[in-house]
């Protein structure tokens, strides 16, 4: 049991008449890549936002390691080693690629009540940022404003920022969203190389990526978990095939 890094129990979130999450439970083990799949509107992003502490669940508890973090806000959870990337790319468009990552480094380098020294030339921020960008293959784009990066590059930067916070647990909301086949393939390789570093909770529609990466898969529809299991179990699960996989593969 002690190797469970993130555990959510009975997560329920209601938006007016919509039950975005209905009594959702999920576990993320150390070293594991756990994919969450489900059709549009299934509540995957809402679940992630609650795990990250951006929105509070109506009921349910969330544990990070042994600690109950249900009442902690997003920055506090981030400080405890929870990282996340967003479905809608949210990089800082005015900042350069390097500044984006440096900002993520800064978030975990003590407090930021430092008013005088220039952040732009602060080696304690720049060097880790440079290393991270090199690692993700964005090294030669370091000085470019993020707004000018291609979509694929922005998705990579999105991941670089999350990684720069050195998370133990990384929540990824559709890292492949909007990518072509080649970029998706690259991202899949990147993610599989991350396994030793952080446990991944991966929300993704790209089934090739999901089955290539996931150790376990949780399937959601209409806010509820309908199945959790190994990729083989999920593939064989009739309920899942009826509700989701069949339809997806036919599309």
């Amino acid at each position: 049991m002690s190797d469970i890094l993130l555990r959510a129990e009975g997560i329920t979130k209601r938006y007016g008449g919509i039950l975005a999450c209905d009594n959702v439970g999920i576990e993320l083990r150390a070293g594991e890549t756990h994919a969450v799949i489900g059709p549009n509107g299934a509540g995957k992003t809402t679940l992630l936002a609650q795990l990250a502490g951006e929105i509070a669940p109506d009921s349910g508890r969330i544990h990070l390691g042994a600690r109950d973090v249900t009442d902690l806000r997003a920055p506090e959870r981030a400080a405890l080693g929870l990282g996340r990337s967003f479905q809608i790319t949210s990089v800082f468009r005015e900042f350069t690629t390097r500044q984006n990552v440096a900002l993520a480094v800064q978030a975990h380098d003590g407090h930021s009540f430092r008013f005088w020294r220039k952040a732009r030339t602060d080696a304690a921020l720049i060097e880790p940022a440079r290393a991270m960008l090199d690692r993700l293959g964005l090294g030669d784009r370091a000085g470019v404003p993020a707004a000018l990066l291609s979509h694929g590059e922005q998705r990579q930067l999105e991941l670089a920022m999350a990684l720069a916070t050195k998370p133990r647990v990384l929540l990824l909301d559709e890292p492949m969203a909007g990518m072509g086949a080649a970029d998706s393939e690259r991202m899949t390789q990147l993610l599989s190389a991350l396994k030793s570093e952080a446990a991944l909770l991966l929300v993704e529609h790209d089934m090739d990526a999901v089955f290539a990466l996931a150790d376990r898969i949780t399937v959601m529809t209409y806010g509820r978990v309908i199945a959790t299991g190994t990729p083989a179990e999920i593939r064989a699960n009739q309920v899942v095939r009826d509700a989701y996989l069949g339809a997806d593969e036919a599309a």
């Binding site: 990250a52 951006e54 806000r73 997003a74 920055p75 506090e76 981030a78 400080a79 990282g83 996340r84 967003f86 949210s90 990089v91 800082f92 468009r93 005015e94 900042f95 500044q99 440096a102 900002l103 993520a104 800064q106 978030a107 975990h108 930021s112 009540f113 430092r114 008013f115 005088w116 020294r117 220039k118 952040a119 732009r120 602060d122 921020l125 404003p145 707004a147 920022m161 999350a162 720069a164 916070t165």
Partner: protein, 313 residues
């Protein structure tokens, strides 16, 4: 380019006392002194608005509070600037800190309305303080005394003091926005949710910025009261908050020097237009609209040839 524009403006401001004495027009010391005082107020607003995305419609509150601190102490017989000015700045910092705890929980239009509401509270407070002039305001019979270090009654000395403080405020905000603190502020403006997700508790940084801004504007208030030798409720009227806001937008929010340009343009234009016609607002209004529509970087952006920034959606 931006640097050249800034330096040119500062050199021009530095030369005003010389020209004023050559042309024997001491009035210009007053006019440009006021320009610089409002520039400090606008710089302070730009700090939170241009870099932090906090549109305060109540910044005149700090102008007034700083001024009243000087005025009330003077009336009570405490003339020393070494007491008056730290108290003016300190009370504004405190007011910003306390109101910030409330206003910073809102954003957008609510933020604008609540900053306005707090400023209005101060407005009515000082209007009702009959002991300190009430509606009529308070005449300051002696300017702040700095024990012979500098004499505010000497026009040129006072002018250069304002100039030096303007430089200091420009320098401080330039350093601030490039520091780690500044990066947090700018990040929170662009995407607060993302900032929190990577681990920044943004609220405390915004509160600090709001407090610094209030303190800086309080300094402008102390200067203004000394220059006018008067402080009254009109200084913290909502229309005054609007004017400071207009200066920032007019000058451009993208660089630290924008507010200086904005304050100069607004005050000089309204001064000279008021000479030409009573209805100067009819000219000022459309001008402002043109700048907002066609020069999103304001006058600073226009002069330094910088393209409008691409903002995060």
């Amino acid at each position: 380019m931006e640097r050249i524009v800034t330096i040119a403006v500062l050199i021009a401001l530095a030369a005003v006392p010389l020209l004023a004495s050559v042309f024997d027009a001491p009035f210009y010391l007053d006019l440009f002194g006021r320009v610089m005082i409002y520039a400090i107020a606008a710089i302070s607003l730009n700090l939170i608005m241009g870099y932090g995305g906090m549109v305060s419609f109540g910044h005149a509150a700090f102008l007034g509070l700083g001024g009243y601190a000087v005025g009330i102490l003077a009336k009570e017989g405490i003339d020393s600037g070494f007491v008056q000015w730290p108290l003016a700045i300190g009370s504004c910092a405190l007011f910003a800190l306390l109101t910030g705890l409330v206003v910073l929980r809102t954003s957008g239009a609510y933020f604008i309305m609540i900053t306005l509401a707090f400023a209005q509270m101060l407005f009515f407070l000082f209007t009702s303080l009959a002991e300190y002039g009430g509606d009529d305001g308070l005449t300051i019979w002696t300017r702040s005394d700095f024990a012979g270090l500098i004499d505010l009654n000497d026009g040129a000395s006072f002018y250069y003091l304002i100039f030096a403080l303007l430089l200091a405020c420009l320098g401080i905000s330039a350093r601030l926005i490039d520091s780690r603190f500044g990066m947090v502020l700018r990040g929170a403006k662009a995407n607060e949710r993302r900032m929190q997700a990577i681990g920044f508790p943004t609220f405390r940084y915004k509160l600090a910025a709001y407090t610094i801004s209030g303190a800086m504007c309080g300094l402008a208030g102390a200067l203004l009261a000394n220059q006018a030798e008067f402080v009254g409720p009109s200084v913290l009227h909502w229309s005054r908050s609007g004017e400071i806001l207009v200066m920032v937008v007019l000058g451009g929010m993208g660089g630290v020097a924008g507010p200086v340009l904005g304050a100069a343009t607004y005050l000089l234009l309204s001064y000279f237009l008021a000479d030409l016609t009573k209805h100067w607002a009819i000219i000022m209004g459309p001008l402002l609209i043109l700048v907002v529509l066609f020069a999103r970087g304001g006058l600073l952006g226009l002069l330094s040839g910088r393209r409008a920034k691409t903002d995060a959606p």
